[in-house]
């Protein structure tokens, strides 16, 4: 019972003393003796050019020797507006992070302070972050309360724009990094445009490659072969159209009209076709019979259209620089 009462009494005393401490104006307390507290700060590199909305962070590391201890309720309160000579200076503590590490002879406090600027002066002016006053208590003598002053940090606040000026480019502080415009949308469209351009180039390559996906494909005889395959094979009209398609392919390949009397010139200029010289002569014989001399004989058999299809395929092979199937290895 007695023990329980003691604990209750101690709690009440500490609670009251905390309230007293809170109620105590830190600035009226005596300063802590020199050497009791050592401080190490990490201040922001940038000291000027802050403007409304900017957040300035500062890290403070305090090492407090025993028997003094920090009264943690004396730590700066978030949202507290700093004043100078009774006037709000426009710096507000936005966030505080506190951690401590206790040792036998000392305690280390790591305090991270984040201040936010809430002023927009028309001229550049200095503002101070702090000072912050912390209360310490001598654990050997609970009545001895002292204060420690975290030194202030001076920074300069700049106006958003020079008074009367509206052109942002002229008003930008040299100390501000350039304002970047978000280009996500533009990048997306650029990627789409590059894609379309690539496809267009591919299409142009296809067109200028004479509709060939690979070199030497889609040539005149390949087209003639496709045409003949679609033609009716039984009637004279189909045969005439087939012969005409092959003539066209010869003319396009030679870049001139090819006749029986300039066949040697054609073969000289297109040596790939020399494998099928005799078949070419047969073709011109067939053309002669169909188009010019009905009484003449041709030597392509009873199914000229079928022969023509096979012949055009051989020509297509020659056009692609291949040896026609029937002429490979003495076949």
């Amino acid at each position: 019972m007695t023990k329980y009462f003691r604990v209750l009494l101690l709690t009440a005393i500490l609670s009251i003393s905390s309230q007293q401490a809170l109620a105590i104006d830190s600035q009226t307390l005596p300063d802590v003796d020199e050497g009791v507290v050592s401080i190490n700060t990490i201040d922001p590199y940038k000291r000027v050019g802050y403007t409304i909305g900017d957040v300035i962070e500062r890290e403070v590391t305090l090492t407090i020797k025993a028997p003094y201890k920090l009264i943690e309720t004396s730590l700066p309160i978030v949202g507290y507006e700093k004043r100078y000579r009774g006037k709000v200076i426009g710096i507000e503590l936005k966030n505080i992070e506190h951690s401590k590490k206790e040792h036998k002879d000392y305690t280390t406090h790591h305090i991270k302070l984040a201040y936010q600027v809430f002023t927009n002066s028309v001229v550049a002016k200095n503002v101070a972050l702090g000072p912050e006053y912390l209360n310490l208590i001598n654990t050997n003598n609970k009545k001895q309360l002292v204060k420690y002053r975290i030194p202030s940090l001076d920074v300069a606040v700049s106006p958003l724009s020079i008074f009367g000026q509206v052109k942002v480019e002229n008003n930008m502080s040299q100390f501000l990094e350039p304002l970047l415009i978000k280009d996500d949308q533009e990048r997306k469209w650029l990627n789409v445009a590059v894609g379309v351009l690539a496809l267009s180039l591919l299409a142009l390559l296809y067109i200028f490659g004479k509709h060939a996906w690979l070199p030497r494909m889609g040539g005149s005889f390949a087209r003639a072969y496709r045409t003949i395959k679609k033609l009716p094979s039984k009637n004279d009209t189909g045969l005439k159209q087939a012969i005409s398609a092959v003539h066209l392919a010869f003319n396009q390949t030679a870049k001139m009209s090819v006749f029986n009397d300039n066949l040697d010139e054609f073969l000289k200029n297109n040596p790939n076709f020399s494998y099928i010289k005799s078949e070419i002569s047969q073709f011109f014989g067939l053309s002669r019979q169909v188009y010019f001399e009905p009484n003449a004989q041709h030597s392509v058999g009873n199914n000229p259209t079928q022969w023509l299809l096979k012949f055009t395929k051989q020509c297509r092979d020659c056009e692609r620089g291949l040896i026609p199937t029937t002429h490979k290895a003495g076949v």
Binding site: S257, N260, R288
Partner: protein, 338 residues
């Protein structure tokens, strides 16, 4: 009957060619073209330098086909009547008139050679062109006919002084213009110089088998050829396209280097020229043992039947031979059939 006749005459024609080729060496193409013109019954303009064998060639052909051969030299003072008659004082001291080259052989005249036609005056051209077109002449109150005559004329292309260029209308009367050039073959050139058989032209011509053909049957047989050798619709269309291309070569993508094609052609081939071309092509098909004309037959006679008919801008006339050759080759290469 007709097929047998065609074959028989073909053999004769090829024999004639062979005989002439023995006498005039290295001229196979001109000889084939002259054979063609004989059977197509067309007059021929020969183009070539002096001393290349034109006269020998014509005399050899005349011996082979029979009939009369007459020749006259074109000079600046030659008058039309010089072709018709000569006047002289006879032994009796009286003036006499004897027939000129045109009348000398009468109706049997088969070859009339007008050497250097462009040296003669236009009046002479005029008379000759009438004779060529109508194969008749009015003289001494009589109408003289030369139904079997073919005129061969030669024009000197090198010398231009004291010459009268043959107008396009006159050129159009000739079926062909055939170039006669010295052969490139060294062996032939050597033979022409060193082989003594070529030195005596009369003896050389006498070696040609005489009367291989009957000159007075050529007209009738020519009609047989023209009626027997067919031309398909595709070929007719091809010939028409060639004709159009001679008028507007640029429409067919034909270009000649260094020539403004928009200004080059004043007039393309004439209808008479195209019909003569097809006559010659039919003969060529017959000579090659075919019953129908092929594009190859047209190509064989295209240059010789068309080139001299083209009328170019005066600025290009000096280069007409070279330009016409390039243009017509371009046309053959550009127009397709089918």
């Amino acid at each position: 009957m007709s097929d047998v006749q065609l074959a028989d005459w073909r053999n004769h024609a090829l024999t004639l060619e062979s005989e002439v080729n023995k006498v005039v060496v290295g001229q196979q193409t001109p000889i084939r073209l002259i054979t063609t013109s004989i059977f197509a019954r067309g007059h021929v303009l020969l183009e070539g330098d002096v001393g290349v064998g034109k006269t020998t060639l014509l005399r050899a052909f005349t011996r082979g086909i029979g009939g009369g051969y007459q020749r006259i030299e074109g000079t600046i003072d030659l008058m039309p009547n010089d072709l018709v008659y000569h006047t002289y004082l006879g032994e009796d001291g009286k003036p006499h008139v004897s027939p000129g080259p045109l009348l000398m052989s009468g109706e049997n005249l088969s070859v009339f050679f007008f050497n250097e036609i462009n040296r003669a005056r236009p009046q002479v051209h005029s008379l000759l062109l009438r004779v060529m077109a109508e194969r008749s002449l009015s003289a001494f109150n009589t109408e003289h006919y030369f139904p079997h005559m073919i005129v061969f004329a030669d024009r000197n292309q090198v010398e231009k002084e004291e010459t009268f260029e043959i107008p396009s209308a006159a050129r159009d009367r000739f079926m062909m213009e055939i170039p006669i050039v010295v052969p490139n073959d060294d062996a032939i050139m050597e033979a022409l110089v060193f082989d003594t058989k070529f030195h005596n032209v009369d003896a050389l011509v006498d070696t040609v088998k005489p009367d291989v053909l009957q000159f007075d049957e050529l007209n009738a047989f020519s009609s047989v050829i023209q009626n027997s050798i067919e031309a398909s619709d595709t070929l007719k269309k091809y010939a028409l396209n060639l004709w159009k291309a001679t008028k507007t070569p640029l429409d067919y993508g034909v270009k000649v280097s260094g020539v403004d094609m928009n200004r080059l052609v004043l007039s393309g081939a004439s209808p008479r020229g195209m019909s003569m071309m097809l006559r010659a092509a039919r003969v060529n098909a017959w000579l090659n043992n075919r019953n129908a004309v092929l594009p190859d037959d047209i190509h064989a006679v295209f240059h010789s039947t068309i080139a001299h008919r083209l009328v170019f801008s005066p600025v290009y006339e000096m280069r007409r031979t070279e330009i016409a050759r390039e243009m017509l080759s371009g046309i053959v290469n550009a127009v397709s059939a089918p």
